[in-house]
């Protein structure tokens, strides 16, 4: 999932917001243009206790430049287009963050810095899901006055229709499949386009007794349901647009109807996207989203170095992909105190790791896998990722520090300087019966930092006689078909797989289910359990997490799984991912939300009125 930067969690494990060391300097809000007209005093600014002065990493701790100044244009930059603009089909984390401009779901992530941003709070719904029937029935009530951009009131049927779109995988593939997987319950609902129900509302597991009420009937209790409801793919969609052959189905991506503060004025894939305020968005119905700027202009398709230049020279406000600046810009920022002041290096919630596939012969032996763990030079790997600021902190666990329940431990210490414990590695090699080493392959993408990481590992393993050839694959199909198809991994002998993982939503289940559940090894492609882990203890802990509502129990399950994964040496984590990001000093209300491990775009304003 590395190219899909995904959801993160900080926990309620309160990393207490280090409140402004210098709260005085907080908000350099300049001579105001217009003041907030509606009632939208940005809740972001959240009083003053979260405000911090501009400084390196300040936005990871609180709100930088808190302000209610309205007006101006927010200029966003990106190298590539979204995976899809259709809320049902998008799966990139930055895209989910971006959807907040125009997509509202029943629940949403609070617009607060840090761990507070991971809380699922009611958005279109009046409150959290009301659980009944032993956790299997969840009921939401809609707010009054919520509308689509054409002024039509949003009803519970629109939400049900949006959920149903997840079932039309043949026409709308690409998005997360939680809703499809958990609500189908054997009824084989074909999606709204092949629905025989005249109102296209034939999905039986979701009921809409009236226009304000929606009831989800699950087959088993699922305690993270409020998080599922934050997904853009759970957002309401107007049937009349989606059933129209000119604007619906696969074409909906180019005709997305807004429910949020902005609507799409124009969208040219790979070139630009312009957002303007949605007149039918009523701020009094919304406690999460904001409408500070008069226009949001996203420029896409930029060369990444070119994009950095624009950003650092003030021609852009932020880079929405949030993967961090390139090497040149990183050096420039680190050497220039003024630039550094407007930069942050947040934990993205990703763990960068190698999967050691136990079904590839050379790595079927636990001791052989341990030899790989010990021979690793984590400092070189960290440098290959971009160093401690641009790349991340050295990792020893699969779970990232931002995951609720995370605990630090290190099963395979690689020396005091983290460059490898060659003696121990050779001992493990001897134990696995290959004292002189063995031959295997490292699979990686052909773009980004993957090739560098693979080279660093290759050089480190060569020190104990493990010869690893680098196999580069096209990034677009890497996770779906290359390393996502176990049979292909076996056929090509890809013992070591360069990977990265972040949670789809900030819970232990959201993080571990795809990479550790032995019952979810997808043989036909798209598999993320690359190491093909199938450990009954892990599976049980995963089931326990979804059943319990007790946070302490969930945390314990996280630790159980993390330890089991490391004991088996299925994964070799090397960095807790960080991304060096820069924001234009003129941008207001800048903070990192741990829901996405990046800036919260929709809260931003500009203070110079331009």
């Amino acid at each position: 999932m590395s190219n899909r930067r995904s959801k993160v969690a900080f926990a309620a494990t309160s990393v207490v917001l280090t409140i402004a060391v210098a709260a005085c300097g907080s908000s350099s809000s300049s001579p105001s243009s217009t003041k907030t007209s509606g009632g939208v005093a940005p809740t972001t600014a959240g009083g003053d206790q979260g405000n911090v002065a501009a400084a390196f990493n300040a936005a990871t701790k609180g709100v930088v430049n808190a302000s209610t100044t309205k007006g101006g244009t927010l200029n966003l930059l990106a190298t590539a287009d979204f995976d899809n603009l259709d809320p049902t089909r998008t799966y990139y984390a930055y895209s989910w963050d971006f959807q907040r401009f125009f997509t509202r779901s029943l629940m949403g992530f609070d617009s607060k810095p840090g761990a507070d941003g991971t809380k699922a709070v009611p958005d279109l719904a009046t409150g959290k899901g009301v659980v009944s029937n032993g956790g299997k029935t969840i009921t939401y009530t809609l707010k009054d006055g919520v509308k689509f951009q054409d002024g039509t009131a949003i009803t519970s049927k629109d939400i049900k229709y949006g959920v149903e779109r997840n079932f039309a995988q043949d026409i709308l593939p690409g998005g997360p499949t939680y809703l499809h997987d958990m609500l189908d319950e054997g009824q084989n609902y074909p999606g709204p386009y092949k629905d025989t129900d005249p109102n296209k509302l034939g999905l039986k597991s979701v009921q809409t007794p009236d226009d304000k009420t929606i009831v989800f009937n699950l087959s088993a209790p699922y305690s993270d349901w409020d998080y599922i409801m934050t997904l853009p793919s759970a957002a309401p969609v107007e049937e009349k647009f989606d059933q129209d052959p000119n604007t619906g189905g696969a074409k909906y991506a180019n005709h997305v109807q807004s429910t949020g503060p902005y609507e799409i004025q124009s969208y040219e894939p790979n070139k630009s996207l312009v957002l303007v305020p949605n007149p039918n968005w009523d701020p009094s119905t919304d406690t999460i989203h904001h409408q500070l700027v008069n226009k949001v202009v996203l420029t896409e398709g930029l060369d990444s170095d070119d994009m950095d230049k624009r950003l650092l020279s003030g021609q852009g406000d932020i880079e929405i992909e949030s993967t961090g600046v390139q090497s040149a810009a990183q050096t420039q920022i680190l050497r220039d105190p003024t630039l550094k002041k407007s930069s942050d290096s947040p934990l993205t919630g990703f763990t960068r790791m190698f999967a050691l596939d136990q079904n590839v012969p050379e790595l079927s032996n636990l001791d052989c896998r341990k030899a790989v763990e010990y021979a690793t030079n984590k400092v070189d790997l960290q440098t290959a990722r971009g160093g401690p600021i641009g790349g991340g902190d050295i990792a020893t666990t699969v779970a990232p520090p931002t995951l609720p329940g995370y605990q630090s431990f290190n099963n395979y210490p690689v020396g005091s300087d983290n460059t490898g414990d060659l003696t121990q590695a050779k001992a493990e090699l001897a134990k696995c019966g290959k004292p002189t080493g063995f031959h295997t392959n490292i699979a990686t993408t052909n773009k980004g930092k993957g090739p560098k990481v693979a080279q660093a590992l290759q050089a480190a393993l060569a020190r104990v006689g493990i010869q690893a050839d680098i196999q580069q694959f096209d990034s677009s199909s890497y996770y779906s078909t290359v390393v996502g198809t176990p049979s292909n991994v076996h056929k090509k002998d890809l013992g070591i797989i360069v990977a990265g993982w972040g949670a789809d939503f900030p819970t232990g289940f959201g993080y571990f289910s795809a990479i550790a559940d032995g019952r979810k090894i997808l043989q036909s492609g798209g598999n993320s359990n690359w190491a093909e882990v199938n450990d009954p203890a892990i599976n049980a802990a995963l089931d326990d997490m979804t059943a319990t509502t007790d946070a302490a129990q969930k945390a314990k399950d996280v630790q159980t799984i993390d330890h089991a994964l490391m004991d088996g040496a299925y994964y070799l984590p090397f960095t807790y991912d960080k991304a060096l990001t820069y924001h234009n000093p003129r941008v207001t209300n800048v903070y990192i939300t741990n829901a996405f491990g990046m800036y919260d775009f929709d809260s931003m304003g500009v203070n110079d009125g331009k």
Partner: protein, 333 residues
Amino acid sequence: MIAFLIRRIIQAVTVLLAVSLITFGLFFLVPKLTGSDPAALFAGRVTNPDALNGIRIKLGLNHPLLQQYWDYLGGFFHARHFDDGPDKTTCSWPCLGYSFKNDLSVGHLIADRFPVTLSLAIGAPIIWLVTGVTVGRISALRPRSMADRASMLVALAAISLPVYFTAAVLRLFVVYDWHWLPDINYVGFTHDPVLWAKNLLLPWISLATLYAASYARFTRASMLDVLNEDYIRTARAKGLPERTVINRHAMRPVGTLIITLFGMDVGALMGGAILTESVFGLPGLGKLGYDAISQHDLPIIMGVTILAAFFIVVANVVVDMLYAVIDPRVRLS
């Protein structure tokens, strides 16, 4: 003449057919041989069977390969209809199919990018033609002079530089270090002609450098050849002014060759300049093709390849005709 033209066009059409067949075969067969499913590439991370099936139907991948090719070819002659449940799409003529990735018509994408490549293929050739021929002419008229030696050495050096290195270094200094030009951000000609030219100046120069050098060498060599011809001696003996000898008599055959060369180069450039476009981040056909390759977006790769081949073939025909018109000695048989 007409008969020759017709034969030439028939040949051009068969060549294009062969190119399209080879391209189609390779790009749609190779994934099959290597076991990667184009439908899976389209589906992204989530690959449930429904999704894959839907995509196969949508892209026509469920048909035999030959029929797919036939359908594809059909798109060049008439509109195509993609019926996929509620998702009926008509791809108007000429139809090059739909992008695997973002569902946009390939024809539309190409039309969108073409002005950028066209801009590149207009400005750069003017620069290289003027400088190349001028320098080559000066050199040929004073062979072995300092000017000749110096310019030929520079030309040889220019030919020995990789275009992306020149481009990168130019951009580093002119844009980033010295700030003589704004950073490159393509603007349409109709939008703001001055800004258009400003943005394209560096790409034009870096592309033109190589060709200009090559043209200078070519002009010089063929002009030296021509100046040794008897008819030039005759012209001089007749007492014609040197200027007339050079401009009217010597330049004519040289010009014929240069035009031939020029036509083919511009034709090839119209299909996209991958290196220049990717170094400068210009959203032209070359970049469209290159990006499509990294996303395995076969319909776009196909479309750009065939369009590029089309320009090369057309340029060939045009050049042949021009050649025949300019140089009566050429037998049109």
